[in-house]
Amino acid sequence: MASCSHPSQLISLVYDNELDEARRYAAADQIADCPACSHRMQLLEHTHEALCQTLDEEVSRLDFSDFWPRIEQGIAAQPPSLASQWADRFRHWRMQWHAPLSWHIPVWATTVGLCLFAAAVSTQLPTSRGAVHIQTARKPVVVALNNQAQIESLSATSTVLVWNEPTSNATVIWVDETLGEKLP
């Protein structure tokens, strides 16, 4: 191939259309007049064509039919973290309730007040079956000192002894066929 004095980058610049109009015309004239440059230009065009054809063939072989479904499956398969779950729930709850809450703050304040009042009243009024006591103050929690039971009925298929344990006066029901010497 005959050599020429034109810079080799000129072919690329013309081919890529990176020159302004005046220079492009001048360069095109130079290439047309120069056999070596014309040959280079042809080679470049053939290479580009071959490359495009190869890429088109490769791409046409690929199956993109389940591309998006696979992406969706992949996203769904990733377990969300606990923090993100709660963040999503909180965001959702805030979006859902922000408007009603902002419009009804007095209603909610009243409700909270009523709840606190109801809780306070209910804790001051312990109910017992058949009787209601009004208690002015909570008694300290102590275990009963006298545990003696009042037995209304007692039946057994074995021998039974009943006595009160001396320390706390707790009632003992002893169910034993053989009354041993272990009993108090």
Binding site: W103, T111, T127, G130, A144, S153, L154, T157, I173, P184
Partner: protein, 162 residues
């Protein structure tokens, strides 16, 4: 308006739930059943039973070991069932709470017999206790302490759960 329909029932429901829950909590009875195996095979005293040492020593055994402790929270009229060692079965039904006394129906069953080995209807003071004992087990004797409280149980007398 949509916001009114949303916001009005919610406070009402909250107040209702709170009141219902507080009333329901007052109608519960805390039942605690501790099963002790008393033997004469050693001098060992289970340190988990320190709180009832003086009561247990009245039984004149030399060794005491806690074999089971269970707690239940049960409504009046509902039964609390406890499985005991040796295939025995204890049923406690709180009947009522009057004058700081809790009425209990206590049944002890053993084996496949449908009739209870022992059945009693009695009242014990609130946060009081009752002993049922005498049944043989593994070379020793079972002593069962049944405690009942119509309010929150005091800090556990013996600090264990088996």
């Amino acid at each position: 308006m949509n916001t009114c329909r949303l916001s009005f029932p919610v406070p009402a429901v909250l107040v209702f739930c709170l009141c219902t829950a507080s009333v329901a909590a007052e109608d519960m009875v805390h039942i605690r059943v501790e099963t002790v195996l008393a033997t004469d095979t050693s001098q060992e005293f289970d340190n988990r039973l320190t709180g009832m040492r003086s009561q247990l020593l009245a039984f004149r055994y030399s060794a005491y070991r806690l074999v089971q402790e269970e707690r239940r929270q049960v409504e009046f009229g509902k039964q609390a069932n406890f499985s005991l060692p040796g295939g025995r079965f204890l049923q406690v039904v709180p009947k009522e709470y009057v004058n700081e006394q809790i009425a209990l129906h206590v049944m002890l069953m053993e084996g496949a017999s449908p009739s209870p080995l022992m059945s009693t209807l009695l009242s014990i003071p609130n946060r009081g206790m009752l002993f049922v004992g005498g049944r043989k087990h593994q070379g020793g004797t079972l002593i069962i302490r049944i405690g009942a409280a119509a309010d929150t149980l005091p800090p556990t007398i013996i600090k264990t759960e088996e």
